[in-house]
């Protein structure tokens, strides 16, 4: 500030002959010194330091969680965990094979429900014109659903499925989880479909393809990696959800094959509910098992997430 004022005034006043022509004369350069003794610089440095510290502090929990998962969960990891049934209180050993299987079954069922609905709705939204009211409403509904509390999906599935079919089941859990997967799939699929260059669509239409042929043979294959990314992200989120399963799929200490045949309409174990149940138990074996289950679950979630992200990166590279 001081420089500009000094420079301005020296230029405007008529210059006597004996005066120094340097416009910077009369500037107190110590004022401009970038020194920590100047309050402006000091505040700048302090705030920079504060922001750095806060960012580092925000990352500590992440490292703490990962470290504990590896340390407490990793020490317990063994093959038996994946093949055996959960132990009774005070019993040693055991595993959570049925919970892993249950989680996979619930997530696959949920994907079967939500992927067709999400992708076809996205096709509608991407094909609709900017001013289409229905598309705007659907998009807004999807955005509102993104912030929908997961427990309420459970409450809804309880009311709609558990009460009508008369019992807790994997299907009820899948319905609850599907509601949570839907907005992610819808919004990412719409984005991916919109990214397809209009030229390709126009070329298809120009060659006489019907609307359906354009969508099925041009749009969907081109946007496929993007859509798959959305599905993967949704699956990753779904695999970690606990709240919607608590009173829809409930929990079970047994495999899904009761009485010799495979039955989806019975209470089903899941890793998330196992962690919740075992974390509160006073038995050491159960608590250790909760940590091991948490490690397995986080690994499942992260691997799905990473696959999804690498797919989207591939797509970006292709476009470049």
């Amino acid at each position: 500030m001081a420089t500009q004022e000094a420079a301005g005034s020296s230029l405007q006043t008529p210059l006597p002959n004996d005066v120094d022509l340097n416009p910077l004369s009369g500037v107190d350069f110590s004022e401009l010194e970038k020194s920590l003794r100047r309050p402006r610089t000091l505040i700048n440095v302090l705030l920079s330091g504060l922001v750095t510290c806060m960012t580092l502090l925000a990352l500590i929990p992440l490292f703490s969680v990962v470290w504990l998962l590896l340390w407490r969960g990793g020490s317990k990891l063994s093959l038996a965990l994946f093949t055996q049934l959960p132990p009774a209180p005070l019993e040693r050993g055991g595993g959570f094979g049925n919970a892993i299987l249950g989680t996979i079954i619930i997530v696959v069922l949920a994907a079967l429900l939500s992927v067709p609905l999400g992708v076809l709705t996205a096709v509608f939204m991407a094909q609709a014109s900017e001013k289409n009211r229905l598309a705007t409403v659907v998009r807004f509904a999807a955005k509102v659903l993104t912030g929908f509390p997961s427990i309420l999906a459970g409450v809804f599935a309880y009311g709609a499925v558990v009460l009508t079919t008369g019992g807790y089941s994997a299907v009820a859990g899948a319905v609850a989880v599907a509601i949570l997967m839907l907005p992610t799939i819808m919004l990412t699929a719409e984005d991916a479909l919109r990214m397809v260059p209009p030229k390709m669509k126009e070329a298809a239409i120009g060659m006489g393809a019907t609307h359906t042929q354009t969508v099925l043979m041009v749009l969907l294959p081109t946007a496929f990696p993007g859509i798959l990314t959305g599905i993967m992200l949704a699956v990753a989120r779904a695999a970690g959800e606990t709240a919607p399963l608590l009173f829809t799929a409930l929990f079970s200490n047994y495999w899904l094959t009761s009485g010799g045949h495979f039955n989806l309409m019975q209470p089903t174990a899941s890793l998330a509910v196992l962690i919740y149940n075992f974390a509160g138990m006073p038995f050491k074996n159960q608590v250790e098992m909760a940590w091991a289950a948490a490690l397995v679950m986080v690994l499942m979630v992260l691997v799905t997430n990473l696959i999804g992200q690498s797919l989207s990166r591939q797509q970006i590279q292709q476009e470049e």
């Binding site: 806060m54 929990p61 009311g159 709240a243 608590l246 940590w291």
Partner: protein
């Protein structure tokens, strides 16, 4: 003639029919997804019906929860939900916005660039990529915070956060127990551990949306501020943050919605006690945690009451989310119009 040798042909009747069918299918599915949202609200409201008629608005203002006497009130749960969410929001937005500024100002990249410059390798084909890679990794690490399931955070809070903060909390209670926030001791689960974990869980939302909104601030504004002689932080506080304020605000509102509806971490850490207290160390309860803990073993008569509680939670979160989404919609529209 050209018509004789052309391979193009009008869509056959079968193709026309499938086309109509597919268009209709997409249209129906779009309606179906709206119908689903309406159905969720309607279904919960229907099942809450009996309890709404029986308890009316008194349900919101009474404190007892006694299935045996059939007396129900959710005032402590509503208080607990709002109290924990607001506190978590306070911590989460401070750290979230700080992290967003840290990333959008490129501190980490600048720092690494400085180190490389010291060794004169800042434009080296391998080392020169490092600053950008570090920024990218930092962004992913913050996003990773959001990928960890909430039940794992609950487990972590139970075995790490509570033992860690308990001595400090009890010391504060012993020395400053007259202060309302410290008026009880922390015997295990309580408001503070829940708030700590909750703020970590909402941080990625705030950071992601704030960072996006900071990155859309036109660089001209920054250059103009620097040109006038402002320091980096004078620019951030007086120019960049106010310009991005709306987007940041929308992010904070959406994070608030998430905090209100968060279930598992709170069900494990908040203590599930029907207590109405301002103390940070007292156990409490939230609407979502009440649902999670009571539903699995609920008496048939309790179901309708729980649906009423769910309806209240739905109303609060839906309102907050709609406001947040609407603000976010407007901010992006406004910035696009300004280009």
């Amino acid at each position: 003639m050209a018509e004789d040798i052309t391979i193009s042909q009008p869509p056959s009747r079968w193709q026309g029919a499938t086309d109509k069918f597919f268009r209709g299918l997409c249209y129906t599915f779009a309606w179906l997804s709206i119908f689903l949202v309406v159905l969720i609200v309607f279904r919960i409201a229907m099942q809450a019906g009996p309890a709404v008629r029986q308890y009316g608005l008194g349900f919101l203002t009474t404190k007892t929860w006694d299935p045996n006497q059939e007396q129900f009130g959710v005032l402590p749960e509503i208080w607990g939900t709002v109290y924990t969410s607001l506190l978590a929001l306070l911590i989460g937005s401070a750290f979230g916005v700080a992290a967003a500024v840290f990333m959008s100002e490129g501190y980490l990249g600048g720092f690494i660039f400085g180190i490389l410059k010291f060794f004169h390798v800042q434009f080296h084909p391998f080392w020169g990529k490092l600053p950008n890679q570090a920024e990218y990794t930092l962004k992913n690490l913050i996003e990773l915070l959001a990928a960890i399931p909430s039940v794992v955070y609950g487990l972590w809070g139970l075995f790490v956060v509570i033992p860690l903060i308990r001595p400090a909390c009890n010391w504060l209670h012993a020395k400053m127990g007259w202060f309302a926030l410290f008026s009880t001791d922390l015997s295990g689960p309580g408001v503070l551990p829940a708030v700590v974990v909750l703020s970590i869980m909402i941080l990625p939302t705030i950071t992601a949306i704030s960072r996006h909104s900071l990155s859309t601030v036109p660089p001209k504004l920054r250059m103009a501020a620097y040109g006038l002689g402002a320091t980096q932080w004078e620019t951030i506080l007086a120019v960049i943050l106010p310009t991005a304020a709306r987007g940041i605000f929308a992010g904070i509102i959406l994070a608030f919605g998430r905090a209100l509806g968060e279930t598992m971490a709170l069900a494990m850490l908040v203590g599930n006690a029907n207590v109405l207290s301002i103390s940070l160390f007292s156990p409490a309860n939230t609407l979502a945690a009440l649902l999670a803990n009571t539903f699995p073993e609920a008496h048939p008569k309790e179901i309708s009451v729980l649906m009423y509680a769910a309806l209240i939670l739905l109303g609060i979160t839906l309102a907050v989310n709609v406001i947040g989404a609407a603000i976010l919609e407007r901010t992006s529209a406004g910035l696009e119009g300004g280009k």
